[in-house]
Amino acid sequence: MAETATWQWHVVMPLDDLWEGEMEAVEVDGRSVLLVNHEGEVYAYKNRCPHQEWPLHDGDLDEKELTCANHLWVFDVTTGKGVNPSNCALIGYQCTVDDDGNILVGLA
């Protein structure tokens, strides 16, 4: 089951519009998705902090650490894992960049 691709790819935006060290909230299929470009690698997460569901895009991205603006919870954007506190994680989505330089997000 785990090997089966059950998600649907959505073209979201050109990679050119999301610079390294930047993040942006986009709406994909009715869901708010946070895109993060860390050193050229793009990651997609549910745009809600797992703590109290506040949007993450107002937060601060510093190297690979994303800090939620509300209660200053910190996450590693390369893994989605909580840094402080550590017993939580962002909800991640499939994400890739195609040959034309478009960011694609896969939603189940």
Binding site: L15, D16, L18, W19, E20, G21, E22, N37, G40, V42, Q52, D58, G59, D60, D62, T67, A69, N70, H71, L72, N84, P85, S86, N87, V97, D98, D99, G101
Partner: protein, 414 residues
């Protein structure tokens, strides 16, 4: 095998247990908590849980199944009755005695009570049960009186007003939170509450209470009688230090510890709200009742218990939500230094900085999350700023940081 006993059911205990297991500690961990609940976060008790937007599962410190999965024993609804440091042993209210290799006191604080103000319609707000009981009484049209316009009082006033309750707040000081946050903040908070229909009666004190068949009658210092249905006493807290005092530990305003959380007794530690802990950057002991600090104390102590002791030097941070407004604070606002206002007090989008020797010592912000995030980074490194720079909104706070690499475009490599 080592056994670590954590006393208290809040986030400080939970964060210690989490930190220990994440670092690979495979000894026994026992959490003893007086409340019958799994460890939970307290901030929602006067906000989302009281408003009915959060259920209990939404603010547990760890998921329900985490404790069993990580072999952490929970002894809930149980008090530690006695601590004997010389024997490395605690006695529990269920009759058990537990030996320990390390004991962590994270017993927190309780609500301060007022003589003459008790009864079926009188509330405090500190526990899940308190919040549940108060929430059940907040039906539209009833009259809630709150004694004390501190954070608990203000947050409950906001939730109650939004639920259609008539709210009156008595605050002996001329402005709510004025001593902590300064007059601009105090005035903004009064105005915000008044616009939502809350009567904030500053400079006034309720001196007596009587129960009538229909409700409560309060008497003010000026002799006025105020009738209400429910009363919340929000006049501060008392640290739960009794166990430590009886065990002979050094206690002043809280349980005294060094910068590592060590008390005066060997292998006994104190963290969270109850600890009066040496903070190396402040050069003195501080007792801080912030959720964020309690969590960080727990993580820090886990490292200390595993032999990687490092002083806790973190910035203090807290937040409050009232209506649609977001208040956040960094550092310790002590009133020292120069006060600088950034943003617009009239538009209720401003931050107040305390500037000491060219450094940001502390800040508090109303609806300025970006300023808080940026100030936090600046405050974490050596920096030098002027009052003019802080007051000038065209100067981004992050520009005060040492220059790093900026954003750049990514190459498509495929």
């Amino acid at each position: 095998m080592s056994r670590f006993v954590l006393v208290g059911g809040g986030v400080a205990s939970a964060a210690t247990a989490t930190g220990l297991r994440e670092a690979g500690f495979d000894g026994e961990i026992v959490i003893v908590a007086a409340e019958p609940h799994l460890p939970y976060e307290r901030p929602p008790l006067s906000k989302e849980y009281l408003a009915g937007t959060f259920a209990v599962e939404d603010f547990r410190a760890n998921p329900e199944d985490w404790y069993a999965q990580h072999d952490v024993e929970l002894v809930l609804g149980t008090r530690v009755e006695a601590l004997r440091p010389a024997e490395r042993r605690v006695s529990l209210s269920d009759g058990r005695a537990l030996g320990y290799d390390a004991l962590v006191l994270a017993t927190g604080v309780r609500a301060r009570t007022l003589d003459g103000f008790a009864g079926e319609r009188v509330h405090a707000l500190r526990t899940l049960a308190d919040s549940q009981r108060l929430g059940e009484r907040l039906s539209a049209g009833r009259h809630l009186v709150i004694l004390g316009a501190g954070f608990i009082g203000c947050e409950v006033a906001a939730v109650a007003a939004e639920r259609g309750v008539r709210v009156t707040v008595f605050e002996p000081e001329p402005l709510p939170l004025g001593r902590v946050l300064g007059p601009e903040f105090g005035r903004a908070i009064v105005d915000i509450h008044r616009e939502h229909g809350v009567a904030i009666r500053t400079g006034e004190v309720v001196t007596a209470m009587t129960e009538t068949g229909a409700g409560l009658e309060l008497t003010t210092r000026d002799g006025e009688i105020v009738a209400c249905d429910e009363l919340l006493v929000g006049v501060g807290s008392v640290p739960n230090v009794e166990l430590a005092v009886e065990a002979g530990l050094a206690v002043e305003r809280g349980i005294l510890t060094d910068e590592y959380g060590r008390t005066s007794a060997p292998d006994v530690y104190a963290i969270g709200d109850v600890a009066e802990r040496l903070h190396p950057e402040h050069g003195r002991r501080l007792r801080v009742e912030h959720h964020d600090t309690a969590v960080k104390h727990g993580g820090n102590l886990a490292r200390t218990l595993l032999g990687h002791a490092e002083p806790f030097t973190g910035q203090h941070f807290f937040w409050s939500h009232q209506y649609d407004h977001n208040l956040q604070s960094l550092g310790q606002l002590t009133g020292e230094g120069e006060t600088v206002i950034r943003g617009s007090v009239e538009d209720r989008s401003f931050a107040i900085f305390s500037l000491v020797g060219g450094r940001i010592a502390a800040m508090v912000a109303l609806d300025r999350p970006r300023d808080v995030l940026q100030a936090r980074k600046v405050m974490g490194v050596p920096h030098e700023v002027t009052a003019e720079q802080l007051a000038d909104q065209d100067v981004a706070l992050k520009s005060l940081l040492p220059r790093g690499a900026g954003a750049r475009r990514s190459e498509v490599v495929r």
